[in-house]
């Protein structure tokens, strides 16, 4: 039993605590929830033309018809499968690399860390359009340096070809993404009180052991966060494959990834309702993938 006085004291604290979240949630509802709801509504309607297709269109309520059509859309699911496979391979690699960089920085002396930190963050600061410009050149089998470089080792690497397309996309994502993940993980590492490691060091544990057994578990929440963001980002991948649509168009079709398919439906095929339905399906799949990952790592995201 808790004394009534303590009850009210706790209550007031909780209400004050909740008040910290009020400004955010007012804005969040207006700028995020409202557009989502408006978009969800779109998926429940169907737009029909008539005659030659230039007159006014009729909009009918069609309930879940669009969603059901999307569930049976083979080309959409083919894109999903492609991206899921890519995510399964690329995310662990990028995550491991990001954590490794963060741990290296954390293990280095302060002076050394300061010297490298900025350089490591440069790719993250470079805007996407410029990164694209750079890598188009580097990948170019005709004028770029990478193809001749790999030829030195007897490897015939054409980064524009359909076979290497995922390697090219993966590297582009890694180059731009490692800095971002590293920053989040590194900040979490730095927030950990130092005394915790010193004891282990005094006991003679190696740096590698300290990193693996003490540091990594302490920053697990941040790792889970960056991984989930990567899962979401990778399943919704759009601009990188869109670029390679020009380089390897025989491989990268208009619905190569789920979001490319959604864009094509909305803005080329002109069926915004169906595109909205596909977006919902994609959001559900992404949500399930994230939930499974959370379950797997035993960290409930909402607690």
């Amino acid at each position: 039993m808790v004394a009534p006085a303590v009850m009210t004291w706790r209550r007031i604290a909780a209400i004050k605590g909740a008040s910290f979240t009020v400004p955010f949630f007012l804005g969040f509802v207006l700028f995020t929830v409202v557009p989502i709801v408006l978009a969800l509504r779109e998926s429940m309607y169907t737009t029909k033309s008539s005659g030659l297709g230039f007159g006014e269109k009729t909009i009918e309520f069609s309930g879940l018809a669009n969603l059901l059509k999307g569930v049976g859309d083979e080309r959409f699911w083919a894109g999903m499968g492609r991206v899921a496979l890519f995510a399964a391979i690329s995310i662990p690699l990028i995550q491991v690399a990001s954590v490794a960089v963060a741990l290296l920085l954390d293990a280095a002396t302060r002076k050394v860390a300061a010297r490298f930190r900025l350089a490591l963050l440069i790719p993250y600061m470079i805007p996407g359009i410029v990164a694209t410009l750079i890598w188009i050149y580097l990948y170019s089998p005709d004028v770029g340096p990478l193809t001749p470089f790999f030829a030195l080792f007897g490897v015939n690497a054409d980064f524009y070809s359909g076979e290497l397309i995922w390697v090219s996309i993966g590297n582009l994502m890694a180059w731009g993404g490692i800095g971002f993940n590293m920053l989040i993980v590194y900040a979490a590492l730095q927030a950990v009180p130092r005394e915790i490691f010193e004891g282990a060091r005094v006991d003679g544990a190696s740096e590698l052991r300290i990193a693996w057994s003490i540091k990594v578990p302490l920053i697990r929440r941040s790792l889970v966060l960056t991984t989930v963001l990567s899962i979401i980002g990778t399943l919704q991948i759009f601009s990188d494959p869109m670029l390679f649509r020009s380089m390897a168009p025989e491989t990268v079709t208009r619905d190569f990834t789920p979001i490319m398919g959604i864009y094509d439906w909305a803005f080329a095929q002109g069926d915004f309702n169906y595109a909205a339905a596909l977006s919902i399906i994609l959001a559900i799949v992404v949500g399930l993938a994230s939930a499974i990952f959370y379950r797997f790592t035993n960290t409930a995201p909402t607690s």
Partner: protein, 299 residues
């Protein structure tokens, strides 16, 4: 410098014996690893630097990895005089939008993350559900509805359309919550309460200070994100003199697609110039990664 000293006095009470990695081999491994990653990160930028020194006619036809006729100064002159110096207008706009948006965002989101991490109240779970749910939604879906909403709010073609929505970043809230959980021990808050401190006072005196590394990271991520974003400006800003630098560079890059002009040279120089504020910000915020305030210092 003085601020650095301030901070040091805070930490001084708990001397932090920063033991260097003990064996030489560890040290070498760490250094080698860092160098390898740095080369991977920075080497591709070489092309950008070399290209910035070339005139348009050398840009495509000479070796991309080595210099041709040195035209860097001409390129700068052209960048800053093109269309009456519109590039500088874009830079200034971006500074204003990004700073205003990110400062507001950091305040609102750090407070919200702190509230979610440190208190148990009704509806908290639903809030977290909404935040995580919003990550999952593909943004393609929201373009038209958001535009209709902004139209009703009379925000189209005003800076508010860029600044205000950026205040409410679900991702930053989540990040703030994660950092708060890692950095602020509940016992500390309990102790402060027993001392009679109010909840808001606790936040400003203890919470905000303990979260400074996290908040700085949130600010930085937010600033870089907002500096480099161009989709919002593309859709919500109409007049060119309100554009951001990324949108401007993007339009310069795309000009050549169906036009007889090619401004790729300007894009290369412009993108290097546009990095300067971000680099400056990162350098000025280095001290926040000096590692967090240690617990001992606050007790």
């Amino acid at each position: 410098m003085t601020t650095t000293l301030d901070r040091r006095t805070v930490t001084a009470s708990a001397p932090r014996p920063r033991v260097a990695p003990h064996s030489k081999r560890t040290k070498a491994t760490v250094l080698f690893g860092l160098i390898a990653f740095t080369v991977y990160s920075v080497a591709p930028v070489w092309w950008l630097i070399v290209s910035a020194t070339k005139g348009q006619s050398d840009l495509y036809t000479t070796n991309g990895l080595w210099f041709a006729e040195f035209r860097l100064l001409d390129n700068f002159r052209e960048l800053f005089t093109y269309q009456d110096g519109i590039f500088l207008t874009w830079m200034w706009n971006t500074v204003v939008y990004s700073l205003a948006g990110t400062v507001g965002m950091t305040l609102i989101c750090v407070a919200c993350g702190y509230g979610l991490a440190m208190y148990r109240f009704r509806g908290r779970g639903v809030m977290m559900g909404c935040i995580i749910g919003s990550f999952l939604v593909p943004h393609a879906l929201l373009t038209i509805p958001s535009f209709l909403l902004y139209t009703d709010l009379r925000m189209i073609d005003t800076p508010w359309a860029i600044i205000v929505p950026s205040f409410f970043s679900a991702f930053s809230v989540y990040l703030a919550k994660v950092y708060a959980e890692g950095a602020i021990p509940h016992e500390l808050l309990e102790a402060a309460r027993i001392d009679g401190a109010g909840e808001y006072r606790i936040f400003f005196v203890i919470g905000a200070r303990l979260m400074s590394t996290g908040a700085a990271t949130i600010f930085l991520l937010g600033f870089v994100g907002s500096w480099n974003s161009f989709f919002g400006p593309l859709v919500y800003l109409r007049s060119q003199d309100k554009w951001t630098v990324m949108l401007g560079l993007y339009s310069w890059l795309k000009i050549k697609v169906d036009n007889s002009t090619d401004l790729t040279g300007l894009v290369v120089v412009g993108s290097i110039v546009s990095l300067i504020p971000m680099v400056a910000l990162m350098v000025s915020m280095q001290r926040y990664w000096r590692s967090g305030v240690t617990l001992g210092s606050l007790k």
